[in-house]
Amino acid sequence: MSLTEIMATLAVAALLAADAASFGHSALRHIARQQALRDLRQALLVTSEMFEREWRIAGFSPTGTTFSGVPIAGASEITFEADLNGDGDRSDAHERVAYAWDADRRTVFRATLGASPQPWLSDVSEGGFELRYFDSSGQPLWDLQARRQASAIVLRLCAERQGGPGSGLVREWVRVTSARRNPALP
């Protein structure tokens, strides 16, 4: 093997090594990004399902007492009520659940009766906790009072977080439409 051949081989090997390093770096960045995206998607699925369950239960009362079930129905905050243990009131644990978006902390907080609000979903985008209310004919409801009697709700959750060093932000969203199970009563 001549010196020229050795030098050519080294040059090609260096190019291949550089290519491999670049490939490895990109792959690692992609892995971190996909991992973050997967975690975000899972968090959105879990939180939206939890929210949907509480929406469906709102207004439940085994004693037949009737009430709205949704005393506060805002665009980025909502409160659910139910008489879960059938004692005739809605003042026990988990019988009143409130969700509210905190813009400063980019977090949606969930509070149950008698307990301090806990972070429910973090890294929420601006306007990433959006609630829309509809009547039984599918018309959107804008009036706060009318929203308490809503027949269906659309929840839109959007969150974004760092996908790893140098890979930028990953963003994911989920949209849930759910009909009211317990009749809306004033």
Partner: protein
């Protein structure tokens, strides 16, 4: 130069092994990521189908219960006679599994008393992949004969 360096035999093996050592981790990662995504999707599918199967059972049972004039009548079961084997049932004996889908899905419904004017209708759904969820409704009869239904969902079913 010795024969060791001048003979190119075996160079292909070294090159291929080098590339394989690069590509193998990437392939493994892709397979792992796909597997995790699949598990997530399967979990969601299990829970979702179980819920909607349970709700289908509950809706069907409520349609039957709503035709009754009292809680006591609703508890008599399909044969309408008190003290028989199907008391507390809707589609047969209480808790009888009713198939509802091609992959073993189905629901079990029971009716139990709450008080003199109300019954609890509970439906347990078995969804795709064996996932289970349960929903229930409390049905009340007022003195004027009106029926009200309040829907509930079990968190640990």
């Amino acid at each position: 130069m010795s024969r060791r360096w001048s003979d190119p035999e075996g160079a292909a093996l070294v090159l291929v092994l080098g590339w394989v050592s690069l590509l193998l981790p990437a392939t493994l990662w892709i397979a792992t990521a796909a597997w995790i995504e699949l598990l997530q999707a399967q979990n969601a599918r299990r829970a979702t189908t179980a819920f909607y199967v349970a709700e289908a059972g509950l809706d069907r049972a409520l349609a039957w219960v709503a035709q009754k004039r009292s809680a006591e009548e609703a508890l008599r079961g399909p044969d309408g006679a008190q003290g028989t084997f199907d008391d507390g049932g809707v589609f047969g004996v209480p808790g009888q599994f009713i198939p509802f889908g091609p992959a073993g899905e189905g629901y079990e419904v029971t009716v139990s008393p709450v008080d003199a004017t109300a019954v609890r209708v509970r439906s347990r759904g078995v969804g795709w992949g064996g996932g289970t969820r349960a929903v229930e409704a409390i049905v009340h009869w007022t003195e004027s004969g009106e029926v009200s239904v309040r829907w509930n969902e079990e968190f640990d079913s």
